[in-house]
């Protein structure tokens, strides 16, 4: 299996057995930040979001990860938008042939209808009146989570930091907020109701039960049972309700994984103990998965796109840290192993079976 590991210094393709040591099969975009990379399972095409510290952001694509990569046309704002893309946070396959979605900073959604070769701004979300009040989180004003609805291209949900959850039932033509129940504890109590500044950190849909969504918030872990309209906090039992990475089991809508971090002022693993937490009952309870993970002196930070599953049942799980280590589990988190180390700070991890 291949693992696409985006880092502060390029894209690394790691290769090896599930959950075992992995070799570096290739490195591309040396010196640039690879924000995110995926392999579209439908076409086999690889797509990578790359940001040069000098020459700005762009998306590349290829059919051979170790070969040459072509630059996509966009994502880029039309001239009349008066904005410029700072970076592309996420690329997600859509529900129609050759359709992909990309989320960028400043928060906007782009759509490709040719497998990622060219991109166009979704004007519906860009033009929502509330956008004038959107404000950035620590990572900027970014659209980082895109949840399509299996089999229904009309229904889509996106997460924005720090502008909440937005839902569309008409393929992105119109949008509405989906934020009932979310409590922004970082705001004064009298400013929380109807707050715009909702700092969603990560959001995923359970593919076998699309009404079910899980969200890591900036202080809170939430679940929605009604496709993102309302949310309930399920963080009780976790050592911290702060964090970024999240995985939902593709075969079990009751099962999700998070990696808690100490709150916003620290953002490292609590007590220097690297632990993945799993719920098998929709967040009613959580248990720590620790076997094979360092439990002392391990002050890691795991970024929002740096945790992934391989689609298996049980899922193979992989995450990378800002300290350049990548851990993997072939058995749904029961046993972990260090699969790669000494990499640059890891920004994203995705499996490419």
């Amino acid at each position: 299996m291949d693992l696409l590991v985006g880092t502060r210094k390029g894209l690394f393709v790691l290769r090896g057995e599930n959950g075992g040591p992995m070799e570096i099969a290739s490195r591309r975009f040396d010196g640039d930040v690879c924000e995110f990379a995926i392999k579209d399972p439908r076409s086999g095409r690889y797509l990578a979001s790359v940001t040069s510290g000098f020459y700005g952001p762009r998306v590349f694509h290829t059919m051979v990860a170790e070969g040459g990569w072509d630059q996509a046309q966009g994502p880029a704002f039309p001239e009349d938008a008066g904005a410029t893309v700072e970076r592309t946070w996420v690329i997600t396959p859509g529900e129609e042939d050759d359709v992909l979605w990309a989320g960028v900073a400043p928060a906007a959604l782009f759509r490709s209808e040719d497998g990622g070769e060219s991109w166009a701004l979704n004007p519906g979300l860009w033009d929502v009146p509330e956008r004038a009040e959107w404000s950035p989180g620590a990572g900027g004003l970014c659209l980082h989570s895109i949840c399509t609805w299996p089999g229904d291209p009309a229904r889509i949900a996106v997460g924005i930091s720090a502008a909440g959850v937005w839902l569309s039932d008409d393929g992105g033509y119109s949008w509405r907020r989906g934020v009932k129940g979310i409590v922004p504890g970082y705001l004064p109590e009298d400013a929380r109701e109807d707050a715009i500044a909702l700092c969603v950190h990560n959001m995923h849909r359970a593919p076998l039960q699309p009404d079910t969504l899980y969200m890591q918030f900036h202080g809170g872990v939430y679940r929605s049972d009604d496709a993102g309209e309302t949310w309930q906090d399920i963080a009780a039992g976790l050592p911290s309700d702060f964090g970024f990475p999240m995985v939902v089991d593709p075969h079990d809508p009751n099962r999700a994984f998070v990696i808690p971090l100490v709150g916003a002022e620290d953002r490292t693993t609590p007590g220097g103990s690297l632990r993945v937490y799993e719920t098998r009952d929709r967040g009613e309870s959580w248990r720590a998965l620790v076997q094979g993970l360092p439990q002392e002196g391990a002050f890691h930070t795991i970024l929002r796109q740096a945790f992934a599953h391989d689609g298996g049942d049980p899922p193979g799980l992989y995450f990378g840290t800002e300290q350049g280590e990548v851990y993997g589990s072939a058995d749904g988190g029961a046993h972990w192993a260090l699969v790669a180390s000494h990499l640059p700070p890891v920004t994203s991890v995705r499996c490419a079976p």
């Binding site: 010196g31 510290g53 020459y55 410029t84």
Partner: protein
Amino acid sequence: MAVVSLPSQLRDRAGSGPEVPIDGSTVGQILATLEHNYPGIAGWILDETGTIRRHVNVFLNGERVPAETAVSADDRIQVLPAISGGASVRTPGSLGSRYRG
């Protein structure tokens, strides 16, 4: 016709020689034409608004200039990566480094 000199990374992407003659009356117009003529570097020097990217410096006859600067036929334009670029960037209005999330 003014001559544009590119750094090696952009030359490699453009597939151009070290110096490219381009017609135009301002620096911005010449750079836009350059990116149009060499699609491999489209968007690498100018962003979507036509502004020179923050961490790219453009010199006209040895003096750093903005995009609207007028250009004469014998002028020489140099595009260089800025010493301010290449590292993590703080986002305006944000609370910390762009990589904290």
